[in-house]
Symmetry: C2
Subunit: 311 residues, 2 copies
């Protein structure tokens, strides 16, 4: 994927997304002893950067494909993102969700116009259900992270960040399925000035850390982390990009995630989800390494259940 393709993607999706603000906090800079620039995708439409990739993927479909709709399986932010992106572009979106998904998540998908198909809570059941829809309706399956158009779309967040702060030494982002960091790595390569991308993961779901070490895609066994967006695993499209561009992944404990989240809530007065706190927690944990540096942090989203907070 080239620099030109990334720029074209940004121009394509611009009318359908927010150019989210970049916030700073003097207090947090003092704590970390570095200059932090928070790219606030929690203020993105539907509350997450996933809107970018979903929008690009739907826009890249042919007229014929659009007329037959799109399908994905997700119970998280991508379900909402694909629903809203499709609604904006007048395309039918079908979302395969486990029947035990929280009501609040099902309602959010419905609110954005997505059609829900329920299934058992296993990967096999989800895939079977999506395959059946693809077969029966001719809809196009769009993967939440292992899809080149999705990866390109996710990269536009870092692109906007670097347009605003071109001299960042590092950009931190969390790793779940790998779509965000792959896109971020491309944006940093093309638009950064020796800008290094650093990944962060919960110790409880450190498949990317282990994959980078072993050279092949590793899986998570339990993924028992509060950072629910990061429980998924790498794919064959994004892993090679990560291997090529990402040299360091920092792992953090559940306590570090919650304390990072609390610090941002209390000091910056913005709501970020636990997955976003993972990137900040990584800077906080290894602050000696990043002293006096200019650091971008992709705040990936702000969708939390306020009835179920870790504080």
């Amino acid at each position: 994927m080239t620099k030109e393709q990334l720029i074209a993607c940004h121009n394509r999706i611009k009318p359908y997304i927010h150019n989210t603000p970049v916030l700073t906090s003097r207090l947090i800079n003092t704590i970390v002893n570095a200059d932090l620039y928070f790219k606030c995708e929690n203020f993105q439409k539907m509350g997450s950067y996933k809107m970018r990739g979903a929008t690009n993927a739907v826009m890249q479909l042919s007229e014929d494909q659009r007329s037959k709709g799109v399908v994905t399986h997700s119970s998280g932010n991508f379900a909402q993102a694909l629903s809203l992106a499709s609604q904006s572009l007048d395309v039918k979106a079908t979302i395969v969700m486990p029947s035990n998904s929280p009501i609040v998540k099902k309602n959010a998908v419905k609110e954005y116009g997505g059609h829900i198909i329920e299934c058992e809570s296993t990967l096999e059941a989800r895939e079977a259900a999506s395959n059946a829809i693809v077969r029966d309706s001719g809809a196009t399956f769009i993967h939440p992270s292992n899809d080149l158009d999705v990866i390109l779309g996710q990269g536009t967040s870092c692109l906007e960040l670097l347009f605003e702060q071109s001299d960042l030494d590092y950009v931190f982002c969390p790793i779940g399925g790998g779509g965000l960091i792959a896109g971020t790595a491309l944006a940093a390569e093309y638009f950064g000035n020796n800008c290094e991308v650093i990944g962060s993961e919960p110790l409880e779901a450190d498949d990317a850390y282990r994959s980078l070490k072993s050279g092949k895609i590793e899986t998570n066994i339990t993924a028992n982390t509060i950072a629910d967006g990061l429980r998924t695993q790498l794919g064959h499209h994004n892993f090679p990009i990560i291997q090529k561009h990402v040299k360091q992944i920092i792992r953090v404990t559940e306590t570090e995630i919650i304390e990072g989240m609390r610090l941002i809530w209390e000091r910056m007065k913005i709501i970020i989800e636990p997955s976003s706190a993972v990137a900040f927690a990584a800077v906080l944990k290894e602050k000696e390494q990043f002293k006096n540096k200019k650091i971008g942090i992709i705040i990936s989203g702000g969708n939390v259940d306020v009835n179920n907070l870790p504080f």
Copy 2:
């Protein structure tokens, strides 16, 4: 207090405060059926508009007065505001706080450089303690809301809002001690274009509503509201301004406050305190009256104890 005084005040305090952002939300506009402009004092220094009035009050002191320091009694945002404003201006601030104030509030005052004197948790004890400090040290007492310089400072938030959105039909703000709404009323009078200021109060602490009806300052007996910043009562400086300029006060229930707060947290991804939610809850409650209007809302602050949320 004249238009020129308000402008001079704004120019005076500008280097010490943030020009806070004005945010909008399409989703919330759809719910309310009006255009809402949120003036986000939750992003103000120390997390509340109180920074404005405190800064102005300290800056208006003579050199001799500054050298002797300032004192106030507060366990809320004004305690932190006077501490930080004084620290910025190299003035000693003494804060009289009830000994049973939460540790988190005492720590915040200390963090901003305030010196705490503890006393019993009665108004008499607080006043006695502040009077003793004034007598012994020559410090100047600054009231959190019933002070002309404080009122003028608080008015600069609405002034900035009207600089950005000059054609607002209404500005909503919560009423506690009355400093914010008195300043807001002056700003709307001088810089608005037939802009009406509407107050909002918890039903549990509706002293301003009753005072406006009876024509004299009424008191709250229990003030058993989650909106802790609004439990205090009007003063003789701000009440006449409110009587002159404020025609309507809308009262909301505790449930309405919490639901308003939840809506803003969930939809706008910003942290606002219950007192701020009171103003938004008032718009929500009486939305038929304000249909299709352009409405400013002063989000007064964002200092909440995340360990003690109402959700």
